[in-house]
């Protein structure tokens, strides 16, 4: 399934499945997920905890932690299958062409090295810069991501910076090589709302400037809505709906997406405590999925045939597709 407008998208995953192991056994965290992004596009992976959105992102970079592994499907980068690339080629792509930022800025910097050490290490390795040039570029990068007094910050250790500043440092390291694609895993979840706003504005500006593609993983509909061109809604390891952000939010097609959007309290409708629409039950535990459609046990429109239908989108991206053949 081709999932972007151009014939060879920048990055594409086809029927990607990732298996993980927990105390109860092996289970599929990501189940035949297909997605793609093109240059300059941003895709939001939206879903609740445990839906497999973060592990999908890691699988795109080949970073599934042992003892889990990719158990099916493929990932292609500029038309080339990851599996056909050598280890050193993969390493060259990681961090140079594709960069990644993480959720917890407190732990994604090494606590025993200074900010300068860590930023310049990337520059020296990825851009083959000499120490002095790396230092200068590092200062410049910190400046670009809005860190005041960059020269002094380079000498500090991560614990001496606030969470927002640490995330800026991560972003500085990520954009240093002017990557084609940025993967962002809940980059603002650990931050306060005003800081989240600053970081997202920064990301939007950098994306615009560098014509960078972005895949943003988030549980927050608002964050995805404001920052992404396309939305992929994930539920229990499957992509259940895909489409342009505007369409998905305006006219959600899958019952899960509809339920999710209705369940979110809005700032605009203050007070009154009118009951929100809810989705019955709780997200399923990984590894304990029903046969057929994974949402059918919570779905208000479920029918007997839902137990046998395959979970596939009814329209090809970039069109607005839904994995529910019942609700049109």
């Amino acid at each position: 399934m081709q999932t972007a407008s151009s014939p060879t998208p920048l990055l594409a995953a086809r029927d990607l499945s990732v298996g993980l192991v927990n105390r109860h056994g092996a289970f599929l965290a990501t189940n035949r997920v297909s997605l793609a992004v093109d240059r300059g596009q941003s895709l939001g992976l939206l879903g609740e905890s445990g839906c497999g959105k973060s592990i999908t992102l890691r699988a795109l970079l080949g970073l599934v932690p042992h003892p889990g592994e990719i158990v099916g499907g493929s990932v292609t980068w500029k038309g080339r299958d990851w599996r056909s690339l050598s280890k050193s080629e993969i390493r060259r792509i990681r961090g140079k062409d594709i960069a990644m930022i993480f959720q917890d800025p407190a732990s994604c910097l090494n606590p025993v090295f200074t900010i300068g050490d860590q930023v310049t290490e990337t520059l020296r390795l990825k851009l083959a810069l000499k120490a002095k040039a790396a230092r200068e570029l590092a200062r410049d990068l910190l400046d670009q991501v809005g860190i005041p007094a960059p020269e002094e910050r380079l000498r500090l250790y991560p614990h001496q910076l606030s969470g927002g500043m640490r995330q800026r440092v991560m972003i500085a390291m990520a954009i240093a090589t002017e990557p084609d694609l940025l993967l962002a895993d809940e980059p603002t979840t650990a931050l306060d709302v005003t800081i989240q706003d600053q970081i997202l504005t920064l990301l939007a500006r950098l994306k615009e400037r560098n014509r960078m593609a972005m895949i943003l993983v988030s549980h927050d509909v608002g964050v995805v809505a404001q920052n992404c061109d396309f939305i992929a809604v994930m539920y229990a390891g499957h992509i259940v709906e895909w489409g342009p952000t505007h369409d998905v939010l305006r006219t959600p097609r899958h019952p899960y997406t509809r339920g999710l959007l209705a369940a979110i309290p809005r700032l605009e409708v203050s007070g009154g405590r009118h009951p929100l629409q809810t989705i019955a039950g709780a997200p399923p535990t990984p590894g304990e999925l029903p046969e057929g459609c994974p949402f059918r046990l919570r779905c208000p429109s479920a029918r007997p045939e839902c137990a046998t239908i395959p979970v596939t989108l009814d329209r090809k991206p970039p069109d607005h597709g839904s994995a529910c053949p019942i609700v049109m």
Binding site: D15, G19, V21, N22, G25, A26, P67, G68, I70, G72
Partner: protein
């Protein structure tokens, strides 16, 4: 085994399920294997008088330094005593010592650590200074010093090892207590105005037991090793009472011509140690709560 789901590479899925099964299976095997080993040796020692063994203290110079044989499965020592019988009888001293010392220390350490961690403040600071000192001090020196005060012998060993061992439990419990004290069900109990003993003993304590129980398995091994070491140094169980460390010491002078006198009792210690360690590994997995 569950069949591989559609659209999945079969080999990869098989590999994954096998990995999952191995991880789970190992803990159970470990637990039962450990229990089997310990139970076997404990049962043998408990039933020693009824097994028709030779008298462990009876000397028989005619049969001195016999290598292992059908008549003497572990051979005999320089006084002609049956090493197998001595090893079995020694279990009565060593196993009882290990278990009693460990659990007396656990109760003392758990109480002190829980109180120290819950109330904090000056009491905590003072207790923890002492605990740190006891733990970082070479335990053998401390025990030897106590043995010097009380006088060598099993009583000295009991007092000495308990005097050292409680501190490990106190530190472990305090650490756990500090973590659990911030958990919201403890805060909730406090806001409800429950009495401090109720919060500590009814709500916190059951959650502190896990780490202590798991650690106690290693500690039993450590304590048996310590008794053996004391006896080896001539400051624990005095001859002719059979004890594993004492037997190893007795064998040292005949190491050149009768290897079995020292090595076989040592092997039994190792076996017991492995038994308890396996139980500990199994318990750690069984009692693990991180699997939400």
């Amino acid at each position: 085994m569950r069949p591989s789901p559609p659209g999945i590479e079969k080999d990869a899925w098989l590999r994954l399920t096998r990995r999952a099964r191995l991880d789970r299976g190992w803990a159970t095997i470990s637990l039962y294997a450990g229990i089997a080993i310990v139970a076997f040796i404990a049962a043998l020692s408990a039933a020693a008088p009824f097994l028709g063994l030779r008298d462990p203290t009876a000397t028989d110079l005619m049969n001195a330094l016999q290598p292992p044989s059908l008549a003497f499965p572990f051979g005999t020592d320089d006084l002609g005593r049956d090493i197998f019988a001595r090893v079995v009888y020694a279990g009565r001293v060593d196993l009882v010592f290990g278990i009693v010392v460990t659990y007396v220390s656990l109760v003392i350490g758990l109480s002190i650590g829980a109180i120290s961690g819950y109330f904090g403040g000056l009491v905590d600071t003072v207790i923890m200074r002492i605990v740190d000192l006891v733990i970082s001090f070479p335990f053998i020196i401390l025990i030897l010093t106590i043995a010097a005060i009380v006088g060598p012998g099993l009583t000295g060993a009991y007092i000495g090892v308990i005097a050292v061992s409680w501190a490990l439990y106190a530190r472990l419990t305090r650490g756990e207590m500090l973590a659990i004290r911030r958990r919201e069900f403890i805060l909730n109990a406090e806001t409800l105005g429950y009495s401090a003993p109720r919060v500590v003993f009814v709500h916190a304590l059951p959650n502190l037991l896990r780490a202590n129980l798991v650690f106690s398995m290693s500690d039993i091994v450590l304590n048996i090793l310590t008794l053996a070491a004391l006896s080896y140094l001539g400051l624990g169980v005095a001859p002719p009472t059979p004890e594993w460390g004492e037997m190893i010491a007795q064998g040292q002078k005949n190491l050149f011509n009768a290897w079995w006198i020292s090595t076989l009792p040592g092997l039994v210690i190792v076996l017991v140690g492995i038994g308890f360690s396996l139980i500990g590994d199994g318990l750690a997995d069984r009692l693990d709560e991180s699997g939400r």
